[in-house]
C-alpha cells in the first residue's frame, strides 16, 4: 500500500521540485520511516492506537503540522540566526499544533477529548522537530513540504497498522464497526491496555526487521 502511494504522489509533483520529490517521499515513507527506522515519536504512536479512528486523526495532525512547519522553517531558513533557530522552530511548530488543536475542539469535540493531551504533545514529537532541523533548514520550501508530508504519512501508516491490530483483536471492531462478532470471538482486552501497545509495537518492529533481513544492530 505504501509503495503505491509513494509512486502515485511522486509522478504528480516530480516537475515541481526538480525530480528530488520521488526520492524524498520514498525516504520519508519507507526507507527512513520515522517510527520503525529512527524510533522517533513512539510516545503518541503507542498512546492513540487503541482505536483506528484516533490513529488516523493523529496521523493527519502530524502530516499537517510537519508539512506546514517544514514550509515555514524553510522559508525562514536564511533569516534565522543559527543560535536561536531552535526557539524559532519550536514557536512555529507550536503555532500549527495550536491551529490543529483549536480545529479539533471546534468541529470534533469528542475526538479532541479522546486524544486528550496527545495533540499538544505533537510539539515535543521528535519527528516534527527532527524534520525541521535536518531537512527544512537546508532545502527549499516546496521540497520541504513534500518531505514533511511524506514523513507524516510514514508515521500515519505505522500508526494505522498498530491500531488495526489492536482494535481488531482487542475490541473486535474496526473504525467502530463490528468486524469480529462477539458470538464466536472473545476480545483480548489486554491489547487495548498499555502493555498491549508495547507488545504490538515490539512485534511490529521485530517483523519488519526480520523481513528486511537486518543482521546487525
Amino acid at each position: 500500500m505504501s509503495d503505491h502511494h509513494a509512486q502515485a504522489k511522486s509522478s504528480g509533483c516530480g516537475g515541481l521540485c526538480g525530480g528530488k520529490c520521488g526520492s524524498t517521499i520514498q525516504d520519508g515513507v519507507i526507507k527512513n520511516n520515522p517510527i520503525i527506522h529512527q524510533v522517533l515519536g513512539v510516545c503518541s504512536a503507542l498512546a492513540v492506537t487503541s482505536k483506528l479512528e484516533n490513529a488516523l486523526v493523529m496521523g493527519a495532525a502530524l502530516v499537517f503540522v510537519t508539512a506546514m512547519s517544514n514550509a515555514f522553517v524553510s522559508l525562514l531558513r536564511h533569516l534565522m540566526p543559527r543560535r536561536i533557530r531552535m526557539i524559532v522552530e519550536v514557536a512555529i511548530i507550536a503555532t500549527f499544533v495550536i491551529i490543529f488543536d483549536q480545529f479539533l475542539k471546534a468541529f470534533y469535540w469528542d475526538m479532541s477529548k479522546q486524544l486528550g493531551p496527545y495533540v499538544g504533545l505533537i510539539i515535543t514529537n521528535c519527528i516534527v522537530m527532527g524534520r525541521a532541523e535536518a531537512f527544512a533548514t537546508q532545502n527549499p520550501p516546496l521540497l520541504s513540504i513534500v518531505d514533511g508530508a511524506a514523513n507524516g504519512i510514514g508515521y500515519m501508516i505505522i500508526l494505522a497498522l498498530i491500531a488495526v491490530f489492536r482494535e481488531l483483536l482487542g475490541a473486535g471492531t474496526l473504525l467502530g464497526y463490528t468486524a469480529l462478532s462477539t458470538a464466536w470471538y472473545e476480545p483480548n482486552v489486554l491489547l487495548m491496555l498499555a502493555p498491549g501497545a508495547f507488545f504490538t509495537a515490539g512485534f511490529l518492529i521485530w517483523i519488519i526487521n526480520a523481513l528486511r533481513g537486518r543482521k546487525d544492530v
Partner: protein, 196 residues
C-alpha cells in the same frame, strides 16, 4: 475542581497511572538513556526535579495569567517556553553554585526540554482540573514514576547484556517487549488505587 486527595494522586501516578508505562510519555529518553543504572538514576532525578517545579509554575501561570486574560489557547506555547526557560535557568544556577551536581545531572538537562513527559504532565494537569497542591503532587509522582520505570529498565538491560537476543529482535523491538512486561507487572497495582 478535581476531588481526589493529593496523596492519592502522588501514589497513583507512581504505580497505577505511571506516566511512562500507562501514559506512554517520555519514551524517547526512556529508550535512549536506560543502558546503565547510573545514567538512569541521573536522568530520572533530573526529570523529577524539573517536573515538580514546572508543573507548579505552569499551574500558577495558567490559572493566574492565561485564564483571566482568556488566552487559554496559548497554553501550549506558554508551557513549552516555561519548561525550556526553567531548564536553562537551572542549568546556569547549578553550574555556578554546585558544580558537582552539575556534572552529575547537567548533561541530562538539555534533554529534558524535549522530554514529552514534562509537557504531558502540564497538559494532564489542565485536563484533569487539578488545583495547586494536586498539581505539585502529580508532578512529583510523575517524576518518581519515570525514575522507577527507567531504573527498572536499566537494571534489566544490564542483565540482558549477557543474553543472546535474536538479531531482528535486537534494539528497539526487544526493549518494547520488555517495557510491555514491566507495564503488565505494574497493572498488578491496579486494584490498590484508582484515580480519575
Amino acid at each position: 475542581m478535581n476531588p481526589t486527595s493529593p496523596m492519592v494522586i502522588l501514589v497513583a501516578s507512581i504505580l497505577t497511572n505511571n506516566i511512562l508505562l500507562a501514559g506512554f510519555l517520555g519514551m524517547c529518553s526512556f529508550l535512549a538513556c536506560s543502558t546503565k543504572i547510573e545514567t538512569a538514576v541521573g536522568l530520572g532525578t533530573a526529570v523529577t526535579f524539573v517536573m515538580v517545579c514546572t508543573t507548579t509554575l505552569n499551574y500558577l501561570l495558567y490559572h493566574y495569567v492565561l485564564v483571566p486574560l482568556e488566552l487559554e489557547f496559548l497554553a501550549f506555547i506558554l508551557f513549552i517556553a516555561v519548561i525550556a526557560g526553567f531548564v536553562q535557568l537551572v542549568e546556569m544556577v547549578m553550574e555556578r553554585f554546585s558544580p558537582k551536581l552539575y556534572h552529575a545531572l547537567g548533561i541530562f538537562l538539555p534533554l529534558i526540554t524535549v522530554n514529552c513527559a514534562i509537557l504531558g504532565a502540564a497538559l494532564f494537569m489542565v485536563i484533569r482540573n487539578y488545583n495547586g497542591i494536586q498539581s505539585a503532587a502529580f508532578g512529583l509522582g510523575g517524576g518518581l514514576g519515570f525514575l522507577l520505570a527507567i531504573v527498572l529498565m536499566a537494571g534489566l538491560r544490564e542483565k540482558m547484556g549477557y543474553s543472546n537476543v535474536p538479531a531482528p529482535l535486537r534494539g528497539t523491538a526487544v526493549l518494547m517487549l520488555i517495557t510491555g512486561v514491566i507495564a503488565m507487572t505494574f497493572m498488578g497495582f491496579a486494584g490498590m488505587i484508582t484515580m480519575q
